[in-house]
């Protein structure tokens, strides 16, 4: 327990507190009066209102589109299911800087909608909402679908035998069992969209700003730390409230449900209704999730002399023209993999320790910690990045110029996922199994190796895989840290996009495609590991 607490205290709480204190304290006195001043400003009120309603609308839209998807992935069997499940998760771990331009290809001029309906949605609020669906589809599919797949269909069948209608049986049996999962997923989507940054900046245009965008503007651009501090505290309160509710629903979800092997609940679609549902879900996934990804790939191949691997080859050579990089851009792939591995190691160690501690103990305090571990997901990357700068500036913690800062920042985002994946599995290990092994003469080590490890290993791998994919795509905290000149993939993409010229643009698309492929590979591997795993965590 001490490990994770110390980790969060040093690398999260302390830097964030330092930057907030810098804004709210003058001459050693807290200036809480600033809350009133900032809140009275009409532009800030506008930001608060927009942040809230777009998050609510995005959440509703995501549920509307993704719940049928959750059902299809849970209950129907179709070829390529694993691949598609990995594919819909790719957006979730991709940085917005990469997807933004591809998403414009869907909604902007000459995009799919423009061609079909003459509809252009870029720089409208619809672009933001649909992009939020794009990024969060997987959250619903994985959280709700994961549980749905494990609900024993015989319960619903029993209700029907007893005379309930089809809808009635679903409403009274399945729905109550699913509600906590739906609520948990909705809260996570709300959290992610409430704190949305890149999507709003790239797709919304200058007319829209969320709280997170405003915090970035006030901190990084205007250096108005008092206003930034007030906004950070507001976001903290909002996110804290959401997380508290989330922790409650998660606990309800972990209450005894009769779960079964997901492999047994899924079957080939039957009847026109199921086929239509499958078709509809596949069509919406193709249009909303796969098209933007396909556009990236297409543009990476569309070279000066027709389609080919031109830009990929360019990535591997050092640019004799001079330019954005001192090393071939492909090095960014290795940098990213190194950073992501280090971040995964930290996240698994810290998250694993935290999950173990949370399993062993019960009580209000521990439950609070459960929610607390999720806080980094809801705190602005710029706050953490700038906090690092002023907090970690003295030995032994002068890490500002160190490479370790990047994986540390990435691990902060990875830990919550590790905890959420590990916790349900660790809680589900039956104490009696170990006792039985002991009675049969196994040493504690052997009991662990034969009983616990096989049960936990899978979750550990899944957690590591997810933390890895999330770290790989992490962009926010990475850009706010001054780094030695070893760009990660997202940073290299941003750098290439920041320069004129066809070759730069093409290489940016090629690097994005590589990033996407690596994420997809990690996630696909994860699907394999998950396999027919009986108990899996939320993601």
């Amino acid at each position: 327990m001490a490990g994770p607490v110390a980790f969060f205290a040093v690398f999260f709480a302390y830097p964030v507190a330092a930057i907030v204190a810098r804004g709210l304290k003058t001459g050693g006195n807290w200036q809480f009066g600033r809350f009133g001043e900032v809140l009275a400003r009409s532009d800030i009120q506008h930001v608060l209102w927009f942040t809230t309603w777009q998050a609510l609308a995005s959440t509703a839209l995501t549920l509307l589109l993704a719940l049928p998807g959750a059902y299809v992935f849970a209950r129907l069997d179709f070829p390529g299911k694993q691949l598609l499940r990995a594919a819909v998760t790719v957006p979730f771990v991709l940085p917005t800087v990469v997807v933004g331009s591809a998403f414009l290809a869907l909604l902007g001029r000459g995009g799919l909608l423009d061609e079909a309906l003459g509809l252009r949605l870029d720089t409208t609020v619809w672009a933001i909402l649909l992009a939020h669906v794009f990024f969060n589809y997987a959250v619903v599919v994985r959280t709700v679908g994961g549980l749905w797949a494990q609900l024993d269909p015989r319960q619903e069948e029993a209700a029907r035998v007893l005379g309930a209608g089809r809808f009635d049986a679903w409403r009274r049996v399945t729905l109550p069992a699913l509600t906590p999962a739906v609520a948990a997923a909705a809260l996570m989507v709300f959290l992610f969209t409430f704190t949305s940054f890149g999507v709003v900046q790239i797709l919304g245009g200058p007319a829209f700003a969320t709280l997170e965008v405003e915090i970035y503007r006030q901190t990084a651009q205007l250096l108005d730390l008092p206003t930034a501090a007030v906004l950070t505290m507001l976001q903290f309160l909002a996110v804290g409230a959401v997380l508290a509710v989330h922790a409650r629903t998660v606990r309800r979800r972990e209450s005894a449900l009769r779960l079964t092997d997901p492999a047994r609940t899924a079957r080939r679609p039957r009847g026109a209704g199921q086929w239509a549902l499958l078709g509809g879900v596949l069509a919406s996934v193709a249009a909303l999730l796969l098209t933007p990804l396909a556009v990236l790939v297409e543009r990476s191949l569309d070279g000066p002399g027709g389609y080919g691997l031109h830009y990929y080859r360019a990535l591997t050579t050092l640019d004799a023209r001079g330019g954005a990089f001192l090393v071939p851009p492909i090095e960014a792939v290795w940098n990213s993999l190194e950073y992501a591995l280090a971040a995964t190691a930290i996240a698994v160690a810290v998250g694993g320790l935290a999950a173990a501690a949370l399993t062993r103990r019960a009580g209000r305090l521990v439950r609070g910690l459960d929610a607390l571990l999720m806080l980094p997901l809801g705190v602005s990357a710029v706050t953490v990045g700038f906090g690092f700068l002023i907090a970690l500036d003295e030995p032994p913690l002068d890490l500002r110029a160190s490479w370790i800062l990047v994986p540390l920042a990435q691990a902060l985002v990875g830990v919550p996922f590790v905890v959420r994946i590990m916790l349900p599995v660790l809680r589900a290990v039956d104490e009696r199994l170990r006792e039985a092994a002991a009675v049969l003469g196994a040493s504690p080590l052997r009991a662990w190796r034969e009983v616990d490890f096989p049960l936990v290993r899978r979750a550990l791998l899944i957690a590591a895989g997810f933390a890895f994919a999330v770290s790989l795509g992490e962009f926010g905290a990475t850009v706010f840290i001054a780094r030695p000149d070893r760009p990660t993939l997202p940073v290299a993409v941003a750098r290439l996009l920041g320069r004129p010229g066809e070759l730069n643009y093409g290489q940016a698309m090629a690097l994005s495609t590589i990033l996407m492929a690596v994420c997809a590979a990690a996630l696909l591997l994860l699907e394999r590991v998950r396999g027919s795993s009986k108990t899996s965590g939320e993601f």
Binding site: R109, Q201, P206, L341, A349, L353, L389, V479, A482
Partner: protein, 368 residues
Amino acid sequence: MSTKKITAVVAATALGVGVLAACGGESEDAKSAEGAAATGSGSKTVTLVSHESFAASEDVLKQFTKETGYTVKVLKSGDAGEALNKEILTKGSPQGDVFFGVDNTLLSRALDHGLFTPYEAKGLAQVRDEVRLDKEQHRVTPVDTGDICVNYDKKYFADKKLAPPRTFDDLAKPEYRNLLVVENAATSSPGLGFLLGTIGAYGADGWQDYWKKLDANGVKVVDGWEQAYNEEFSGSAGGKKAGADRPLVVSYASSPPVEVLYSEPQPDKAPTGVATGTCFRQIEFAGLLKGAKNEAGGKALLDFLVSKTFQEDMPLNMFVNPVRDDAKLPELFTKHGEVVEKPATVPADDIAKNREQWIQSWSSLVLK
């Protein structure tokens, strides 16, 4: 209560440490550089802090090491404004020795916060007088200039048999309706530069009327240069693929040569041109940070930044112009670049006093 869980966790940690160690091994260079930086004033490493756009040829940095014995370590992050704000935040305990990348729009902010130790760099005599904005105190040293100008898509105007615009006035004319895309002055450095250009051209009283005309003429505002140039501007490689429909964009005077440089095969003529009457000149400075661990190395680095070697290397790395009279421009620039004779200027003091106010009024005028 359960040793098993503890063991599981120990295994996880062991795995973690193993991977960490593996990673650490590969980052040996970075670590040894830190070790050297931490040893203080006798150090052979000098740390340059800058924004994301800083770049220099490896050969040139090696030459610096050969001449002075110092190795340069570069730390970069964010855009110019963000990078400067980080220095202000860490004042007194800076991340490095020299900061590069404060421009004339932000200069007063840096100087008001007293970030820099005065130092008169060697070779300053060769630097053009009009860029030496702090010539009494030498807190900052000018390193490069760049012009922010409207770029046009040559093909569009040739196809339409329309003369491309040349001046700010032209941009508000009906024949250029719905053709211009600009960046948000509040979030983008070229966006702010263009706004300052219009203020320089029309004065503190006239610029708002001008922007009303631009607005009525269908100017489009997006948040950053990347979106404007790669997504909206029909003359860029990205814009062509995206089917962009705005042939006028606020970018840099150096963008056309760079378009040529990064095309394959390189065309004889740049696909884009510069409206030379719409330019605002940015001057970028470097300074020795107060509290620098390696002051001697920092001074040597400042000397080097205005040396002929570095100045001639700079154009093709950062796409900016040298400040030294005797630095030769690469052929690419002389062939495809356009000379900006009279860029609009606004005195640095005026910018300092009014910047936030101007951005506020501009936002409420144009973004609504």
